[in-house]
């Protein structure tokens, strides 16, 4: 998918969860991406963040970093599952 579309989708998710307190928002964005995004899409986000993450919402950037490191990623049993 085009990076611009991926950025738009990730930012929309971040925009929603931004209403929650920071720690929960970070957890929920990552959990949402893990629950609903196919691995290719998650990989694209991770690589985009690693390349600078231009235009991404800070919560999406954080999620991209968490997803790059499965050891540190939030639990997959998040609220969206």
């Amino acid at each position: 998918m085009q990076d611009a579309k991926m950025v738009r989708m990730a930012n929309q998710i971040a925009d929603y969860f931004a209403a929650y307190p920071a720690e929960r928002a970070e957890r929920e964005v990552t959990n949402h991406l893990r629950a609903f995004w196919e691995p290719r899409m998650r990989r694209q986000l991770v690589e985009y963040v690693q390349a600078g993450g231009d235009g991404l919402h800070p919560l999406a950037v954080k999620a991209g970093r968490d997803l790059a490191d499965p050891e540190e990623a939030p639990s997959a049993s998040g609220t969206t599952r």
């Binding site: 998918m1 085009q2 579309k5 738009r8 989708m9 929309q12 998710i13 925009d15 929603y16 931004a18 209403a19 929650y20 949402h32 629950a35 609903f36 995004w37 196919e38 691995p39 290719r40 899409m41 997959a76 609220t79 969206t80 599952r81």
Partner: protein, 950 residues
């Protein structure tokens, strides 16, 4: 089953819990108080002849055929109009009564074409049966006097005729139009001998307000109102009870056949969703099932620019399997996927996702609910714990306040709309939130208390303003919230919703709805008694569709409007099996029963059942598949019963994705738009040609029963099974009942469902299990599926699709009564008489600014595409908003709509596209290219004509 299998008890049932015992013809009969003598007799097995009475209508007492003698009462009262009394003694067959009835019927027959009367035992309608029942052998009066025998036949309606010479002016049709349908299109005009049934202002039926629901035809006791199909093909000799293949109401029908040919479809009186009512689509628009456009032989081609080649089933399956296997071997299992259909049965959908997950080895399976109600799944699961409407349809009869949001029931769910309108006529209050002035806002004897005519894209702002009012004005049902909901989440939500930014005053500019109106509507919803929300795609098809669903759930929880009759949050599903296709695990992240594929326990269950190892990662959604195809990582797709090239947004993007694939398999009734990019075409079967189940919007599982053999030779479930076997993943079902047994074994909400029980009960609403062996009409009664209800925050985020100087109008798209979705079915019926093309509705001011008059051809251009169609100037539209349908591929509204989508589910934002509208004289470039493409890609080798004849 015989054609006439329902019993008419004469008048509606009484709801009284008290009983009365009386004597009818020397036999004791006990019935609820308030029951008519006519019905009491019928329940006691005693037949009293009648003409103007039927148990779907209130008693009218005009025909005088049901007269009886009652001891102690003077004269001969009409049994239909006489309520039972304790100790009453009734005689239904006395010499005086019989003489009176014969005399009455003789008078009717004195102005009736007696040549049409069949012999005893061969009657086809109630009048003929009554003639024989009362023993009328001859009529003493000739036709020399004034009569109606030469009254003009009205054949204007494409589906039924009205022959006034056979009308006895019993008013059943008029009352059916009023009481059942709620349209009030028919009246009795004139008095005495001049009385006659009149449509609107004495207009032909086709030109009148009649919506062709067929209620009048069903109610007519004579052949005055008669289906043309019966006149042409003859009376049916058997019937099969099945379920309609159109909208999510899921009406039960009798397919009435003569031999193996369907003669008519009549609404089944004992149908639990429709109670004997129907709409123009289900009742009449079934001609597509035998349309010459049906593809009946499998076809393949190496390249989409080649003509199709008709082949055997074996060759088609071998070709398809070889291509899919080759892609999987070369590019991996992530390069293939499948799309299931809400128009197919639960069993077929279950098999499709099973084939994708177990056969293809991928979770790349999605369904058309992606583009309609996927936000319902996300929103209701997040708040309540499962993805389903909370009520049964009959619950509306206990509603005191009905809140319709982003739905147009009279067009899209007409049978439920009639039930809703009955409740509104009986006194329920109505709030409508919709940018357009839909018919429900004001129709005969129905008027909304509040029409919240909001700007497209501002649903969440509106629901927040309503919730803010409820909380700030102390209208929260604190007991419900304390007893039933998560307290921490509620406290968080209360703090959020009370922020000034969520007040009606702060959001009035965004929504365009005055703050005081919002506050008044909120007060009515919160304090007006049982309040029920009904919503449609005007909620879900937005960039904040999921947020809005959660917002409605919050509002219902905050006011305690859940867990009993008359309340709830109710999605009106667009297609017949949207609920079922979602239930059956069509989404790329969920197994059947809405269980995530990462859940080890659930995945293990299916691995054991299916004898494979399953992927724990979510697959691609439809738009993701298209994107992946364009970038070269997705190469093959199997599509059952879907036409994504017409239904999905930005169809030029869809075309690019399909065109980039190496194997597109389309299984459908017709060479649809998507088939233009297909390499394999597998001829599908209609709902009349297979067994299975559909699940309607109230979670009701209804049987689909085969009335005739599939014209292509295989039912859809058999096609999927054969393809799976060819691919090496063995399936051995001999009947869909076995598939349902597997669904019940693996899916807790379906644990108690089987075909025997469905046959016995008629239908079942899931959950159906040990706790609820006969199903669950109302959900979340004592606790929510997830335990305690969860309030979710609902920040209003403006869509990025915004009007500007270049694109100053907002386009919303939707449906119309006579057409259905992409129109593949209804375009191939006489429903074209009402709606033969997509039309753009535009406000008079917007039209005048652009020099547009009614009927002008206009171009509609968005940031991504342009099409042209005719315009109609309409005050139903607010200024700045235009509307059209998406039923016709030559218009292709989705050339214009964008890929902007719901944040949680990627459901497209069909309801908000910034456009400009201008006069034009020719088809757009896209339309011209489309016509050429259509001609090229539907060629069949050896045929001189194009296969599409519509």
């Amino acid at each position: 089953m015989p054609v006439k299998c329902e019993i008419d008890l004469g008048t509606p049932p009484s709801r009284s819990e008290e009983t009365v015992t009386l004597t009818i013809d020397d036999a004791p009969v006990t019935v609820p108080a308030g029951t008519s003598v006519l019905r009491a007799a019928a329940e006691g097995g005693i037949d009293i002849p009648k003409l103007c009475a039927t148990d779907s209508l209130d008693a009218f007492g005009s025909c005088r055929v049901c007269v009886v003698e009652i001891e102690g009462k003077r004269g001969f009262p009409a049994a239909c109009h006489t309520p039972v009394e304790e100790g009453m003694v009734v005689h239904t067959e006395t010499p005086q009564v019989n003489k009176l009835r014969r005399g009455v019927v003789e008078l009717y027959m004195s102005d009736y074409p007696v040549d049409d009367l069949p012999a005893r035992g061969h009657e086809t309608n109630e009048l003929e049966r009554v003639v024989h029942r009362v023993g009328l052998e001859s009529v003493r009066y000739g036709f020399t006097g004034a009569n109606h025998q030469h009254a003009e036949l009205d054949e204007s309606n494409p589906y039924f005729t009205f022959d006034p010479s056979k009308c006895i002016v019993c008013s059943r049709c008029v009352r059916a139009c009023e009481e059942i349908q709620g349209t009030f299109a028919l009246t009795i005009e004139g008095r005495g001998f001049d009385s006659k049934v009149s449509a609107s202002q004495d207009e032909p039926f086709l030109d009148s307000e009649c919506v062709s629901c067929g209620a009048c035809v069903d109610a007519c006791p004579t052949p005055a109102l008669m289906e043309k199909s019966v006149l042409e093909k003859g009376e049916p000799d058997r019937s099969v009870i099945t379920t309609c293949a159109y909208c999510g109401v899921g009406c039960s029908f009798k397919a009435e056949l003569r031999g193996d040919e369907v003669v008519r479809m009549t609404p089944y009186k004992d149908g639990h969703a429709n109670h004997g009512h129907s709409c123009v689509k289900g009742r009449f628009a079934w001609g597509y099932t035998t349309h010459p456009d049906r593809i009946t032989k499998p076809m393949i081609r190496d390249d989409i620019h080649e003509p199709w080649r008709e082949v055997s089933w074996d060759e088609a399956f071998a070709f398809a399997a070889e291509r899919i296997s080759s892609i999987r071997d070369t590019h991996g299992r992530g390069a293939i996927g499948a799309i299931t259909s809400s128009r197919c049965t639960n069993e077929e959908t279950y098999l499709m996702q099973k084939l994708a997950r177990a056969g293809f080895g991928t979770n790349n399976v999605d369904t058309c609910a992606r583009v309609c109600h996927s936000p319902t799944g996300y929103g209701l699961k997040s708040t309540f714990g499962t993805s389903a409407g909370t009520q049964d349809f009959d619950s509306v009869e206990s509603a005191d306040v009905i809140f319709v949001i982003g739905a147009n029931p009279t067009d899209a769910h007409p049978v439920f709309a009639s039930q809703m309108k009955r409740r509104l006529r009986a006194g329920a209050r109505l709030i409508v939130a919709d940018p357009r002035r839909i018919d429900l806002v004001r129709s005969p004897h129905v008027e909304a208390d509040y029409h919240l005519q909001l700007q497209p894209g501002t649903n969440v702002a509106l629901i927040n303003a309503l919730a803010h009012t409820v909380v700030s004005e102390g209208l929260v049902d604190e007991d419900f919230v304390r007893g039933r909901c998560e307290q921490e989440e509620f406290a968080e939500w209360r703090e959020f919703i009370l922020r000034e930014e969520n007040s009606p005053e702060a959001l009035a500019d965004a929504t365009g709805v005055a703050a005081e109106t919002v506050r008044a509507a909120a007060r009515l919803y919160a304090t007006g008694g049982n309040a029920a929300i009904y919503y449609g795609l005007g909620v879900t098809e937005h960039s904040q569709g999921s947020t809005m669903v959660m917002g409605m759930a919050n509002l219902a929880m905050a006011t305690g409007n859940l867990g009993r009759d008359g309340v709830g949050v109710n999605p009106l599903r667009g297609q017949n099996n949207v609920q079922g296709s979602c239930d059956m695990g069509s989404f790329p992240h969920e197994f059947p029963g809405y269980r995530h594929i990462a859940n080890d326990e659930v995945r293990g269950l299916f691995e054991r059942e299916w004898n494979v190892t399953l992927d724990a990662e979510p697959g691609l959604r439809i738009p993701n598949m298209i994107d992946a195809a364009i970038e070269g990582t997705f190469k093959g797709i199997y599509i059952q019963g879907e036409d994504i090239l017409q239904s999905d947004p930005n169809i030029q993007h869809i075309a690019a994705g399909l065109g980039a694939m190496d194997c597109v398999i389309v299984q459908d009734l017709f060479l649809n738009e998507t088939a233009g990019y297909a390499h394999v075409f597998l001829p599908g079967s209609t709902f009349l040609e297979k067994d299975g189940t559909f699940t309607n919007a109230e979670r009701r599982i209804n049987r689909v029963r085969k009335a005739m053999e599939p014209v292509g030779g295989l039912a859809d479930w058999e096609i999927t099974q054969r393809l799976s076997n060819e691919l090496g993943y063995r399936m051995d079902y001999s009947h869909p009942a076995e598939i349902m047994d597997e669904i019940a074994r693996t899916t807790p909400t379906f644990a108690g469902v089987n075909y025997d029980k469905l046959d016995r009960l008629g239908s079942i609403q899931w959950p159906c299990n040990d706790k609820a062996p006969e199903g669950t009409p109302v959900m979340h009664v004592d606790e929510f599926v997830r335990g305690r209800g969860r309030f979710m925050l609902t920040p209003y985020v403006r869509t990025e699709e915004r009007a500007n100087r270049k694109f100053p109008l907002l386009l919303t798209t939707g449906r119309i009564l006579s057409q259905y979705n992409v129109g593949a079915q209804t375009r191939r019926t006489e429903n074209r008489r009402w709606h033969a093309e997509d039309i753009l509705e535009i406000h008079p001011h917007d039209a005048e600014e652009r020099g547009i008059s009614d009927g002008d051809t206009v171009a509609v251009a968005s940031r991504i595409g342009q099409t042209s169609l005719r315009a109609t100037v309409s005050e139903r539209m607010p200024q700045g908003v235009v509307y059209t349908t998406f039923h016709f591929p030559e218009t292709a509204a989705n050339v214009v709509t964008t890929e902007e989508s719901d944040w949680a589910t990627n459901c497209p934002e069909y309801k908000v596209t910034a456009v400009q509208v201008s006069l034009c004289t020719t088809a757009t470039d896209w339309q011209q290219r489309y016509m050429q493409w259509r001609l090229e890609t539907t060629r069949v080798a050896g045929e001189t004509e194009q296969p599409e004849k519509a």
